[in-house]
Symmetry: C2
Amino acid sequence: MTAARDDREEQVEIGSLSGSLGYLLRMAQLDAFERFHARFGDMGLKPAEVTVLWLVGSNPGLRQGTVASVLRIKPSHMTKMIQRLEKKGYVVRRAVPDDRRAVQLTLTPAGAQLVDRNWSDVLNLHRKFQTGLDEGEFEELLQLLRKLTGVADA
Amino acid sequence: MTAARDDREEQVEIGSLSGSLGYLLRMAQLDAFERFHARFGDMGLKPAEVTVLWLVGSNPGLRQGTVASVLRIKPSHMTKMIQRLEKKGYVVRRAVPDDRRAVQLTLTPAGAQLVDRNWSDVLNLHRKFQTGLDEGEFEELLQLLRKLTGVADA
DNA sequence: TATTGTTATACTCTATAACTATA
DNA sequence: TATAGTTATAGAGTATAACAATA
């Protein structure tokens, strides 16, 4: 009796949960992950990894620690992530000349190609799906999120 | 030379990352977690757990599986979460009379009290902090997120 | 002494599948 | 046979702390 169960679920009183920013952010992020996976799943990379590649591509020689702090990824996690990206041949690690404790990152040609080919699609991924938002609303949403998080406009 | 390092980080070119919905959602969620932890950390509950308590309080006798599907939490994780909430004395599990495979959830008096005392603060947590958004912008953001995620307005 | 990145440990969340007890 | 929930296992992300190399 699937119908009966579905009926039950429709009776749930969500109420003021729809006024919770935390809940809405969580739901939005789950949707975003699903869209990413549907479109880029066969690339074998996760959203955070693609973001790291784009950031390194835009800032060649960026230190690993800087990438971690900009993206708010823990250093110990960053290490493992960069090792994966290096193993896949997208990233090169090199000691920083002035400070040999530090590691500077650059993309390999394969990494650069991957970013060039896909970054635009990554940015437009959510617009093109049936989000219910028109272009103006989408931009408004981005603007409000930038203001909320303190991320500077491009 | 901390100053030197800070200077380096300020030179990072974020560029079109500020146009990425996924990135902004991630940053917003990190901020939201931090605010939650600063305000409710000593309660010993996480955002998802508080949300479950509120949902059960608003829908006494709700099945565990329904809670899981509404909040998009995996059933196996839901089991462990409910066990924690039960152990802390906030939730009671009972077999559903019509279907003894299923479990219906209700709050204990302690659970109900916790929700009554804190839910309003949970909802208002992000407004009151220096988010940079005024009340109108905050409501607009919630509205756009509801539209994006398909969550019905209260 | 302090900092960059690495390694190690533990815990949470996710993903999956096998299992139980019911239906 | 199918479903509700549980258990088990493996992987990713987070949080900490200890560590090596370098500053």
